[in-house]
Symmetry: C2
Subunit: 140 residues, 2 copies
């Protein structure tokens, strides 16, 4: 069997249980994965528009629109207008930052526990590989 087949088979089979456990962890804090990834992005990039978030996550605008609305309702996100009046820049509220840090602690513990034994170097190599593969997917 081709190694490429095995690679993507294992890739899918790792994703599903990971997402399952991630959702359990997040649900203890009243969040879902799609919401969390928005908080993650904004926390690390400062602020973002809907289009920027959708592009980053590889989803369509309506999908992101709903996720953002939920986060605003939850009080974790707020918008500020820009010169371009079509746009809304999103930032974390104080509550949003607080919530992010709370979840971050739990998530770090989980992620580090399942990466036990994997060296920093291996992780960095895997990250670079994932970036390269994603680029080849999106550029086609």
């Amino acid at each position: 069997m081709k190694t490429s087949q095995k690679f993507f088979d294992h890739f899918i089979r790792l994703y599903r249980p990971f997402e399952g456990r991630l959702n359990v962890l997040l649900s203890e804090h009243g969040l879902y994965r799609a919401q969390w990834t928005v908080l993650y992005y904004i926390r690390n990039y400062g602020s973002a528009t809907l289009v920027e978030l959708a592009a980053y996550q590889g989803v369509e605008k309506p999908t992101m629109s709903r996720t953002i609305h939920r986060l605003v309702e939850l009080g974790y996100l707020e918008t500020t207008p820009t010169q371009d009046r079509r746009e809304k820049k999103m930032q974390l509220t104080a509550l949003g930052k607080e919530q992010y840090e709370k979840v971050r602690v739990a998530l770090d513990a989980f992620e580090e526990s399942i990466l036990e034994g994997v060296s920093e170097e291996e992780l960095e190599e895997a990250i670079q590989m994932m970036i390269d593969i994603r680029n080849r997917i999106t550029e086609k």
Copy 2:
């Protein structure tokens, strides 16, 4: 930022576009990912019960039950009874095998194209890493 955070961020961000492209490719053959992974398993392991398939893919029995029923309706799967009359062993029909090979060709081309430049050795290392991580997730 912790490397573990980056790792899983990139992991999720690779999965989504990959699954999107996979579904486009499969839809050209009238299949979905969940169905394809069943054909894949049975093609490589000969036959399987529902419980075996569900465990392999990390989904619940009702989820797998529906996927299997669709594949039977499509004429790709058939069941044979075993001594244990609770069980149903699933095999590919002739049509199922034909369909598998057809899709396999297209999927190999796609998968190999996006893995261009990644060495066999790197792939094997990544596969082993994914196996280790999945084991740590499921054993907890």
